[in-house]
Amino acid sequence: MTTFSNILQQFYIESPERVSVILQYPTQDDESLSYKALLDGANAYAQTYAQKGIGQGEVVVLILQHGKDLLYAFWGAILHGAIPSIMPFLTEKLSPERYRADLASLVSVTKPVAIVTYPEFEDNVRDALQDGDSVRDVIVSDQVGDASRPDFNLLGGARHLAEDVVLLQHSSGTTGLQKGVALSHQAVLNQLEAYGDSIQVDTEKDVIVSWLPLYHDMGLIASFLLPILSGIPLVLISPFDWVRAPYKLMQSVSKYKGTLTWLPNFAYVFCARKIRGRHIEGVDLSSWRVIINCSEPVRWESHQAFYEAFKDYGLKLEALQTSYAMAENTFSVTQSDLCCPPAVDEIDAELFVKERLAQPPTNGATAMTMMSSGKPISNTSVRVLDVDGNDVPERVIGEIALQSNCMLNGYFNRPDITEKAFKDGWYITGDYGYYADGELYVSGRKKEMIIVGGKNIYPQDIETLVYEVPGVHAGRAVAFGIYDERSGTEEVVVVAESELTDEAAQFKLADDVRKHVTINSAVALRYVKIVPAKWIIKTSSGKAARTGNKEKYLEEIAI
């Protein structure tokens, strides 16, 4: 059985000078790292972890930004046999107090023994720690020694078994940070094999170009582990740089003859709307063979906008593809067939809402355009189930369940929620969908998670923040997501009850809510509605019914 260490050792011995990663920076020249450079740098971290007495299977949290240190610290943990987990870095808008609280909540469940960060961020990390918690060391990047040749057989990673946990992946917010997806070597490698086949990877010709953050499964698995463990060169752009200069993605694809990229749906719209001709003069996108839309609901309109914007630069229509993926299956569950654009299905909107059926519209009925996420990849079985757990026929909407040889080992240190996630050996996704002609269409969510620009946001975390605002009472606010055509993703909406009747006072309260949520969460909150007491619909158990309140909100704003 193979582990990450075995694969890295093989690259190191057989093709040390092969290009592994090309790092791009906002103002400096690109930096190319061979496998030898990558693993020598990683070994410096592995030696540091060893000196600090970090043991096999102990967790190391990495709080580092785009750059060599993040790469070395991650692969160093793998070489050493520790379990790396990448935590998002503090952003300009986020309150440092909340960041420390989030870190403390990660520490409380994941129990890392060390945290790696920059010297200038060390105080922030130390302030989040408490006496008696699991963290023994804060490792500062400038204390790590020089790059050196790794002795693979002596490193702890060599003693890992294929079924051992190799890494953790978290989503954001208090809830997400307390739910680390633990993946084994075997699960990741099974995923890479099956998924690699479905996208026909060619290690001699492919070049992956990505701006995705590495704490996210699409960034970490498809756009980081897949290239590095398969021997495909990876061109890595900083996510912060891309947001300010989205055209750099096109320039990089053109410069390095990029062939493969993964993007969340909003990025198609973002690129189409914000990239100007003067930024991409002379750019050639004809090498781009597959661009995969994944990690939030896929929209045909977004593909159209992207294609229209870049077809004159050599972009091929059939390059635009889709996948349905989740961290619990390591990454991909389904993938569209690369032969042609993903199937598009026109369905009757009323039957969809009222009868949970996906049927072609009858005379004059309002139609909805659905885009296929493709077929299950070879190692994954996908079922669509009714409430009793029976398979539903084609074109009937049900809950998506899956089984594979690349499932998570469990939510780290959370046997309680791991057990609840499965039913009769099937992982119950919480997503709704239907099959038509053997293709899976993902049509909605049972779980109340909101997906903003590919990031999973738990509404309960947002509501907890809203309750902290003076003037809002606990239990008197509700958060949900609505799809915004213009941005191609969901926007978070907060509805909060208040006794205030004066309009100016209501505006002020709405503003306080916006600001508090924005600086304390991963989202920038815009839509806040202040309503009178008893507006919010409650369930029989007294909780706010998010779906019912969303419908009520949409009805009111439509008037």
């Binding site: 103002t27 300009e92 914000k274 600001k515 600086i519 839509y527």
Partner: protein, 80 residues
């Protein structure tokens, strides 16, 4: 200068914050406060380019270059 500020204010309130008529003080922090998120910064930069015929480089889209209406208006004026 006042005119630039009021044009910017209107765009930010209507298009970015989706709250037409919202008051924004000339010295109110926009970026460091999270009022304008990174995705919307691009919109603002494109609007500035089209409306005032000046260029803002992508490396300048941060709170160090401008964080308030006043500072952005000054930047625009200095380049016109």
């Amino acid at each position: 200068m006042t005119e630039i500020i009021s044009t910017l204010k209107e765009f930010i309130a209507d298009e970015i914050l989706k709250q037409a008529g919202r008051a924004i003080a000339a010295d109110e922090a926009l970026i460091s406060s999270g009022l304008i998120d990174s995705f919307s910064l691009m919109d603002l930069a494109l609007f500035v380019e089209d409306t005032f015929d000046v260029r803002i480089e992508d490396t300048e889209l941060n709170a160090d270059t401008f964080d308030s209406l006043e500072e952005l208006a000054e930047l625009i004026q200095s380049r016109q």
